[in-house]
Symmetry: C2
Subunit: 129 residues, 2 copies
DNA sequence: TTTGACCTTCACATTAGTGGCAAGGTGCAC
DNA sequence: GTGCACCTTGCCACTAATGTGAAGGTCAAA
């Protein structure tokens, strides 16, 4: 598919799709006329990229962890550059921290919302003060 | 405590502490000489702010959800401005999405790391191809 | 053949979050 | 009093992510 279609399917602006390409996150093929063509599997990939960026993972890191996703067992190993392993471990830990953090705070919000609801469904003057 | 001390305790640069103040996230009192003074409870608050920002929540939103945190039941209700409730619900949902997303991807990384370890502890030429 | 929807690159602007520095006040310690 | 560590405000700059618009190419359909 071409960039407009991918944009529609993912909800990501074409501008951003080109930006991700510039950052090395996706590498669409090109038609003779220069148009970018995206394989179907890239829809999922772009969604992942967006989710990660939205979660505060910079593109630099996203590009490192992308190889971890989607390939069940294939491309592993081989490219065992030193440092990558440690980087991935560190990033995984950072993600765990974020998860804990978000969970904690989301639960607090939920709690707060419940309290608001309780307050709203009450006579508003009952035992106030 | 003053800003330097808070910075040390939270690991957040003084520059950022002033920025958060500018964004309305914290409002330290002032000494006669103009120095900012922070109450102890702000240490926790600043850590929360950092965590949220690191998780991709913009300061604008952080300022909305901060009231949800830390107050067990007290300041609730009263200020039931319309729209706030919906915003909080939406933000909570967004956080849930992020949590799911991060969890998924973190697990994929973990899986990948495991595969790398397995590959590394193997004769490297065994059944390769 | 012209129109219109799509695509291309280039470039400039903006926003958020940061970092850094300059110029100056405060206050303790020697 | 001098020095030093801390604080103040203000400003400039940078990066990442994003918006936007110009100038132009492609292609199908009317």
């Amino acid at each position: 598919m071409r960039i407009g279609e991918l944009s529609k399917q993912t909800g990501v602006a074409t501008r951003m799709l080109r930006y991700y390409e510039e950052q090395g996150l996706i590498t669409p093929r090109r038609l003779d006329n220069g148009y970018r063509v995206y394989d179907d599997y890239l829809v999922d990939r772009v969604r992942k990229i967006r989710g990660l960026i939205d979660s505060g993972i910079p593109t630099r890191i996203v590009s490192c962890i992308l190889p971890c996703l989607g390939h069940p067992d294939s491309i592993v190993a081989e490219n065992a550059e030193p440092g990558l392993f440690d980087l991935l471990e560190a990033e995984r830990d950072r993600m765990s921290e974020k998860i804990d953090f978000l969970t904690q705070n989301r639960d607090a919000i939920t709690e707060y919302l419940r309290a608001l609801e309780r307050a709203a469904s009450q006579p508003m003057g009952t035992k106030a003060g």
